[in-house]
């Protein structure tokens, strides 16, 4: 803030009259007779004030002070003499004398005649803040993925000479004219990047530029940096929470698994223990899509929710779009989880080894040739092996320890300075098994679940140099899931094997300074072979009243079927700034034709040919978002859009589902605001409303039609608001944390005529507060507090005895009209990092639920339903581990 002191002139009212007239001498004459006293008939009036310069020597410590002077004013009004009577120091004295000697007065009058007078004058020096007329501008340039400061980058802003970032990547400008200014960043042999900043007079703008770097040219002798231009995110999502991998790893409860941070983001409901489900804004878990790059994967977390399916050391960042997202994504009524992977290292080989209570993993990345680099990681869980050492496996009735492993590998070929081709693959395997043998046939239970998937992709990226980018990523994959079990003598078997082919192609560019553009094509084909044997109610669907331990019905059927889902979605978005750079309007359109094919229109019958069925649907999905930077600190956002979701292949059975199911529809509305309270404290809030229709639900008709076990009459709605207070700057390794709170209500009904009832995953309140702090010396500590409303459940209001199966059956109250009690958990984490040259060893310990609270996870009933109690989750989960990087 520039300050300029000015002098204020205060003429104090000390005017003393000293008869400055010469004395009159009489000659030998006798003393004259006493004459009448002279009278000041008019005081002197200052007509020409001269402002004194504030002494330079005093500007370093500006203060208010006064100099009292005696001024002799002649009969013509000129200052004949000035003397200091009360000093304020030689500097102020000299300045005041210099000024008053140039004063001009109307002369005083004595007896109506101009006459010389002397006055006492107080010259007061004050400090005044003038309205600023310039701005300050500073910031830091860092590498996007790692946050490493970038030194030696040229930064220029209109109206000023360029500067170069220092060792910390920092730069600064002062006394810049306010307004919108073009900022350029470049380096020798670099591609220049430009952006615009809004400067306000009297304010300091502090920014952070995160740039994606190209690998350093090993042959270069200098420290030249190559900055890969990533065209500014054309359509910054109206609602988005993005966290870097380094930050996410420090949060308690994640056990160093970066992607577990999603559970702590606003808008995400707390999943029940062992589920790993991601419930966003009242959407069912299967409605939220997860992408690794452009490749869709069937789940974010392994069974049990202990680990993500992507190795943490390969993750660059994770972004959650809970809703209201742009036209680039679809096929889901819930949110989107975007996982961005790190670039393979090209400077040298890097190895990460991890070992903890849950699993062991390794990752290696490095250069193969000058233009080729690779990244490979693998992990295997051993918690199941560990727990098997215990003789007590009673916990398996509720929380089955999963067995899992996963891996990924990528090879990148650099085609040019801003162009590369990357071949990648990943795989994941999960298995959960439990068995409860019993001499009582009705008590026997066994349950085995498996899910495996593989993906292979080829990604091409090119930055054209003018800020435009091209990305093309075709991929193929395979998913296999199976569930077999026996519950109370009823066997259940479900299998699905899917082959997937997908492609995403995108081009983004600036049409003009006011218009940015994104066009793309999103294609996906899924062919699934499914088999199912068992009851209608296993697996359960949303809306089925859930009673823990209740055996399924004994009426069974079987079916095998194949299905195909084709969808090809061209999409486009514009980023328009019709009223200046502060206001963005982002219209988008996604037009998605669907072809749904099911093998059989009706259940297979001997002597009847199987007739397949094809359903064609075109989903026109307009999207609109707006973003208005009301001030440098405050931004308003809003979005509205139409969304579609195809039916699950498992629902296209003519026996258990409905081959004629089409896409479900939804509309999402969001409105939000974010405010930068200080440079390291920000606040954001978003209100949301979602409405969905044509959801697949069980047919409530007591005599349903053939091949209509499911009907598409369900509806849903969610209303809520989320708040997030984030502290800690991106550039600092010290403290960071956030407080997130979501208030919402989610409802469903089976048809437009039915009553609304709570959604199975409704959670009215979800509160998360987390903090991590680097103490120094390699020590890092963190804590996380979570509180959430319990999930709805259907109460048991009575029971009747089933003599056929020799067990009691519950009589149920209104669907989802009661709740599991609220959840509360406090986690702590501590870590110590040891650094030895190029080697880093981190040892960490984490305790989940450090207060040992018995959080109810499920309602349990006695055999006759006369008594009720709660199954509590893991009372405590200590995890110790180590990570070695070299």
């Amino acid at each position: 803030m520039l300050r300029r002191s000015t002098l204020l002139h205060i003429l104090t009212a000390f005017v003393l009259l000293f008869g400055a007239a010469k004395p009159v001498r009489a000659q030998g004459k006798p003393a004259p007779a006493e004459q009448p006293a002279r009278k000041l008939t008019k005081p002197p009036r200052l007509v020409q004030f001269v402002e004194a310069e504030y002494p330079e020597a005093e500007k370093g410590n500006p203060r208010e002070t006064s100099v009292v002077l005696e001024i002799a004013i002649s009969a013509t009004g000129a200052v004949e003499e000035a003397q200091v009577k009360t000093s304020a120091g030689p500097n102020f004295d000299a300045a005041a004398l210099d000024a008053v000697r140039r004063f001009e007065f109307e002369p005083a009058e004595i007896d109506n005649v101009p006459a010389p007078v002397r006055i006492t004058y107080e010259y007061r020096f004050t400090v005044k803040v003038e309205a600023p007329t310039t701005a300050e501008y500073s910031g830091q340039v860092v590498e996007k993925l790692t946050g490493r400061p970038l030194a030696g980058v040229n930064v220029a802003i209109e109206g000023s000479e360029p500067v170069i970032t220092d060792a910390e990547g920092r730069f600064s400008f002062s006394e810049l004219p306010p307004g919108t200014r073009l900022v350029r960043l470049w380096g020798p042999d670099l591609i220049e990047v430009q952006t615009e900043e809004q400067l306000e007079a009297g304010k300091q703008l502090d920014v952070r530029y995160e740039l994606e770097l190209k690998p350093e040219d090993d042959s270069a002798e200098s420290d030249d940096l190559e900055i890969v231009i990533v065209a500014p995110k054309l359509t910054k999502q109206a609602v988005s929470t993005e966290v870097s991998a380094d930050k996410a790893r420090r949060v308690p409860g994640t056990q160093g698994d970066v992607l577990k941070i999603v559970e702590n983001m606003p808008g995400v409901s707390r999943a029940s223990a062992g589920s790993g489900a991601v419930v966003v804004w009242g959407a069912a878990p299967e409605d939220t899509r997860t992408y690794v790059g452009s490749v869709r994967v069937p789940m974010l977390y392994h069974f049990g929710g202990l680990r993500a399916v992507v190795h943490p050391d390969t993750v660059g960042s994770v972004e959650l779009l809970p809703g209201g997202y742009g036209a680039a994504y679809g096929r889901g009524l819930g949110g989107i989880v975007l996982v961005d992977t790190r670039d393979p290292a090209s400077d040298a080989f890097h190895t990460n080894l991890r070992l903890d209570v849950l699993d062991a993993s390794a990752r290696v990345t490095g250069p193969i040739t000058e233009n080729v680099s690779f990244d490979a990681a693998a992990r295997r869980g051993h918690l199941a092996d560990l727990v098997s050492l215990s003789d007590d496996d009673s916990y398996q009735s509720y929380f089955t320890i999963p067995e899992y492993y996963d891996g990924a590998a990528r090879v990148r070929y650099r085609l040019g300075d801003a162009e590369h081709l990357e071949l990648g693959g990943m795989f994941s395997s999960d298995r959960q098994e439990r068995e409860a043998p019993s001499v009582d046939p009705s008590e026997r239970e066994s349950d085995t679940r498996e899910l495996r998937f593989e993906r292979v992709s080829l990604r091409y990226v090119r930055d054209a140099g003018d800020g435009s980018t091209v990305m093309v990523e075709p991929w193929v994959g395979r998913d296999r899931s199976a569930r077999t079990g026996e519950f109370g003598g009823v066997k259940v078997e479900n299998q699905n094997k899917s082959y997937l082919v997908g492609t995403r192609a995108e081009y983004r560019s600036s049409v003009s300074p006011e218009v940015g553009m994104l066009v793309g094509f999103d294609f996906e084909f899924v062919r699934t072979a499914s088999g199912r044997d068992g009851t209608q109610t296993q697996p359960p669907r949303e809306g089925d009243p859930y009673i823990f331990g209740r055996p399924p019905g004994d009426q069974t059927n079987t079916d095998e079927w194949q299905s195909q889902v084709w969808s090809a979605a061209p999409y486009a978005e514009l980023d328009v700034t019709p009223f200046g750079p502060d206001f963005h309007v982002i219209p988008g359109l996604r037009v998605e034709p669907y072809v749904l094919a099911a093998e059989r229109r009706r259940p297979s019958a001997p002597g009847q040919a199987d007739l397949g069925v094809y359903t064609f649907d075109i989903a026109v999905q307009p999207r609109l978002a707006a973003r208005w930077a009301v001030s440098p600190a405050m931004t308003l956002t809003g979005a509205v859009g139409g969304y579609r979701q195809p039916p699950a292949p498992e629902d296209l059975s003519s026996v258990f589902g409905n081959p004629l199911l089409t896409t479900s529809r939804g509309t999402q509305y969001t409105a939000g605001a974010s405010y930068q309270l200080w440079s390291s404290l920000s606040f954001a809030t978003t209100a949301f409303y979602t409405r969905s229709r044509e959801l697949s639900v069980r047919n409530p008709d007591p005599t349903p039609a053939v091949a209509e076990s499911l009907v598409q009459t369900g509806e849903g709605r969610s209303l809520g608001t989320q708040f997030m207070l984030t502290a800690g700057r991106e550039s600092e390794q010290g403290f960071f944390g956030w407080v997130a709170y979501t208030l919402s209500r989610s409802e469903r009904r089976s048809s437009p005529d039915a009553e609304w009832r709570l959604f199975d995953f409704d959670q009215t309140h979800v509160f998360t507060a987390l903090a991590a702090y680097a103490l120094g010396g390699g020590w890092d500590v963190g804590t996380r507090l979570r509180a959430a409303t319990g999930y709805p459940r259907t109460p048991v209001v009575g029971a009747y005895y089933n003599t056929f199966h020799n067990r009691y059956e519950p009589i149920l109250g209104d669907l989802n009209s009661t709740r599991i009690p609220a959840f509360f958990q406090l986690d702590v984490r501590g870590a110590k990092l040891f650094e030895f040259d190029t080697t880093k060893l981190e040892i960490y310990a984490e305790i989940q639920n450090v207060t040992y609270r018995e959080n109810p996870e499920e309602i349990a009933y006695s055999a006759d339903y006369s008594e009720k109690s709660y199954i509590s989750g893991l009372r405590i989960l200590p995890v110790v581990g180590a990570s070695l990087e070299f």
């Binding site: 560990l386 009735s397 001499v439 019905g553 069974t556 059927n557 039609a705 053939v706 003599t803």
Partner: protein, 356 residues
Amino acid sequence: MKRLPPSPRTLLASLAGVLSTSACIPEFDEDASLVAEPRILAVRAEPAESEENESVELAALIAIPEGGATFAPAWAFCSAPKPLTELGPVAQPCIEDFGNESPVLNDLGSGASIDAVVPDGACRVFGPIPPDATSGDASARPVDPDDTGGFYQPVLAGISRDDDTPAFGRVRLSCGLTGLAPDEAIKYRLGYRRNENPMIEKLVARVGEERIVLEEGQSFTLAPGSQVTFEVSWSDCPREPRCGDQVCSPGEERAECPDDCSEPRGCTGAETYAVFDRDAREVVLQREGISVAWYSDVGGFSVPENGVAASDPETTGETNTWTAPTSERDSRVWVVVRDERGGVGFRSVIANVRAP
């Protein structure tokens, strides 16, 4: 003596124990075999499998603890089809309306046993014949069978007409199977035999060295706090068809085995019957498993229920140990045997607990 440090395995096991005991499953103080108040333990239909419009005798095993009053239960057939959204065995309105006038209940009268007629159209409402569709001209979805290929008419029996929680039972329907290929349909017709209720051939109480064969209502004596081992057995049904064994087994026809099949007779044990294997899409022969449920009004059984799986055709009985109360009294014991196809047999005896 210096204590050795725990081995790695011990440490790991300790940690595993911490984890494994962390998820707390509550235990309820309950005994499924204890009869604390008058209740219906079983419902038997004779014959065990009936066609539409066929007469059937329904009998209830009513357990009355000592001092309790006997009663004559009210009976009703449920006529409401069960929607797919109903996770229980019967349409909820039938349970809720029991004891009151209701369009979904067919009143059958009251009594420990009654005679009833299987409703006309039961195979359409509860069986494989597609019911009348309610949605336009689309054909309706037939009911799914259970793993034995069975369809059932729901029946409710309550202690009093005003009782809100009746006992639920089933009458197995002889509806045949639809949707089979012609050759499989023939195999099924030739191979399927109606269910026969299992019968307790012998119930023995072993008190010390003494073996006491107990008939219906018979009593025996044992000391307070002592244990008795009950042995229940049932008929050893033929595992292969054999003319002259007095059982019309699958594969036997009247022409070849007139003694066995002139009046088709089943076996009162674990029968062999034909069932359509949906995976293999062919008719196969399957043997019943038998479950045994044990009840008493005082004392306690080792297990409330056990039985013999279908994979164990050689075993034709089961045992259980009952611990007598520590005070002198007359204790009632009920034993119920059930086969997989809904057949029921039961016997009740009295244990006189007396100090020697």
